[in-house]
Subunit: 170 residues, 2 copies
Amino acid sequence: MSPLIESFVRHFGEMGNRWGINRTVGQMYAYIVLSEAPVNADELSAELSVSRSNVSMGLKELQSWNLVRLQHIAGDRKDYFTAPEDVWEIARTLLNERRKREIDPTLTVMRELLMDKPTDTSERYAQSRIEDMYKLIEMMTHWSDEIQRLSPKQLARMLKLGAGVSKLLS
Amino acid sequence: MSPLIESFVRHFGEMGNRWGINRTVGQMYAYIVLSEAPVNADELSAELSVSRSNVSMGLKELQSWNLVRLQHIAGDRKDYFTAPEDVWEIARTLLNERRKREIDPTLTVMRELLMDKPTDTSERYAQSRIEDMYKLIEMMTHWSDEIQRLSPKQLARMLKLGAGVSKLLS
DNA sequence: ATGCATTTTCACTAATTACTGAAATTACAG
DNA sequence: CTGTAATTTCAGTAATTAGTGAAAATGCAT
């Protein structure tokens, strides 16, 4: 593996680590993203010096996150994987999956807790805090939903606009 | 601790876990956020059944993340902590801290890798992928920077607008 | 300075998470 | 079907991360 690719793969593994994605899976994904040709499990196992079984687990995880596409190559029995060519699609998938795992369950719990009648002052205060958080998170996710419908071009335009939005608003 | 508060604290601990924040620290923060009065280490230790030393570590971590304010109460030698009253401020801090830890180092690495001259086709392809990612991430962080300057009111207005932005743009 | 309350540090243990190799399963060509 | 390549599962082990208690350090009132 070329040094350039290796540095990126290494770094991505470290980062994955901080994101709750395990190091090996992070490395695997970095490798797949940077590969023009579809990649198979043996290649990952060899290039990243990771056991074949570990690669299998990792691929399963990447598939469950919808981050890779499985494809077959004619005359070859192996499974090959690629990452989407559009990085914005990758980002979108990542954001959605994280939200499903990290935000939605929290909203559900909060919604339930807000239904309870407060029994004392401390509960009343706690609920008001939870409500504030709930509203903020709900606004943000709702907004993110809508943003995702934008085409890459519209998105780029909006991002460039930046805080200019505030001018448009006023 | 009342059941309502306890459920929230428990859940937040679990979630913190998925975010790379450790469970106990997550619980501690949830407890502080829901407390109207400033909280001291002994209270946390007692309410969450966690060793006093562990609380000390956790508070240090929360302070390093700028998520709590230390304050003293007259006639009391203990350190007391509170969370900011504005939830948007908490969110902003959280986003910034995560970015500092998770995004910025990646951008630095990518920038460096993009300076290298590609030595073969695979490196050329890898660089083009890295460049795509770099541009996307840079746009998003730049945009997030500017959004953070909005007042809570402007923010609410923008969030409500949602995809309506696209109409404004065209 | 001395003594006491509080906080921090740190070596150790507990718990969790990641990884492996061997065995089992699947899936396809002949 | 049968044989073989490929993949998956899983029990065991390694590595990492979290949590504790005891001891050290800090800081303040007297």
